[in-house]
Amino acid sequence: MNYFLNFTCCIFFITSCAQENFPAIETPSVINYSFELVVDGIDIPWGMDFINESELLVTELSGILYRVSKGIKKEVSGLPEVYLRGQGGLLDVALHPEFKNNNLIYLTLASSLGDNPGGNTSLYQATLVGNSLEKVSLLYKASPNTKKGQHFGSRIAFDTKGHIYFSVGDRGNRDQNPQDISRDGGKVYRLNLDGTIPEDNPFFSSPKAKQAIFSYGHRNPQGIIVHPSTGSIWVNEHGPQGGDEINKLESGKNYGWPLITYGINYSGTPITDKTSNPKMEQPFYYWVPSIAPSGMAFSTSDVYKGWKNNLFVGSLKFEYLERLVIEGNKVVKREKILDKIGRVRNVKQGPDGYLYLGVEGRGIIKIMPL
């Protein structure tokens, strides 16, 4: 009897702690899709972008950039030096919006440039000529360097007005970085496409601020996308245990980390009991339990039945692609796509309208409607 009581208490404790945020994740009733492997042999396919319908660039975290043509991958030479430490390495890759005319690409990577030991996230621009990079130039380097292994960010996106956005995580220093706009880390940045800082950035005129900052109070954003119809910047970010978030970014706003959060420390101890503050933004959606979100894409094509305008997010932790149905200003349905496929590091919509995933231990896969 005593044992039984303990057991029920225990179950109650577990379920009350891990109360899932609405709407609950569902397994689809009809599975009318499968997948095919389009690029194999990449352990951690961190970032990707499409040159055309049959060619793409893929980064591997360990420091390799691949140019893939019809499934055959070739290593691109001329990369800047990559600092490998913990979650840091070669991160995202993105083609300049006018790539067809100028062959420019952007890369984010962990770099040890600078005085202090360790590294931090950097943004580079380079010209892609065949299978090599030329005119490699550093556009931004977060500082100071640190030997911490966590939270480098970092995804790249473009708006239609000539700006590039990229994220840098809090670099394992949540007490100093995310809330201080004179420091790097825990921020989303906004630059002109040539790397100069736009004069209408929110902290452009603040003497002590990092002028490139667009928004702050982030933990580790690893998904970023410009909404296809509204043009607003959406990010997803890893929270602590419980409390991963989707945020719709507005210039100069504070997204609260670590002063407000729906999550707790990995050890189970609280970070704060506050989930809101009038001066800080609420997430558009938060995940409890954490799914460890990485990558983000809207499906805007008619390739898949019933998926148009849905949001897709990779789950590293639960090893599926999450489909989120948004109605009005709310997530009304969540579904597991390709359950147990492996750690989904990235998701993008290709120029052919299909969804492509970067899956750890596999490579790049394409979702095929049946």
Binding site: D43, Y83, G86, G172, Y266, S267, R343, G361
Partner: protein, 137 residues
């Protein structure tokens, strides 16, 4: 000038080997605890139990406790593919974390002596430096 540099390097070498030898097991475990929080905990969890079928356990792990050199190699060079831990199959990727030999030794000493794990071996940076990549290829 060359002689000064040589003497400097010599002194540095003697000094650092002196330092390594004097790091006690307890000090190494403490340093390893911090490395663990930074680099390992997100997958293997603070309880060392990992996630069944996804991230292998370190607590009471036969893989770890019965073959220390293989575990050192996994941390030093990264590990991928199928392994069996406590009769369960794991088929994942643990990337190289970029730790130096001393950090690998420290975190090994930590995981070998935490969560009820117990061992008399004491891993040194020197031992880590001699572990070849061929072990995990």
């Amino acid at each position: 000038m060359k002689i000064i540099v040589l003497i400097y390097l010599l002194i540095l070498g003697i000094f650092s080997s002196f330092l390594f030898q004097n790091k006690t097991k307890k000090e190494s475990i403490n340093a390893g605890s911090e490395i663990y929080q930074d680099f390992c905990l997100q997958c293997h969890l603070s309880t060392g139990t990992g996630v069944f079928g996804v991230f292998p356990p370190l607590k009471a792990s036969d893989y770890l406790l019965e073959n220390t050199n293989l575990s050192i190699a996994g941390i030093k060079y990264g590990l991928k593919g199928k392994i069996i831990v406590n009769n369960e199959e794991y088929n994942g990727v643990m990337i190289r974390q970029g730790l130096d030999n001393e950090e690998v030794a420290d975190v090994m000493n930590y995981i070998l002596n935490e969560w009820g794990n117990e061992t008399t071996v004491f891993i040194t940076p020197n031992q880590v430096s001699k572990i070849p990549k061929s072990l995990v290829e």
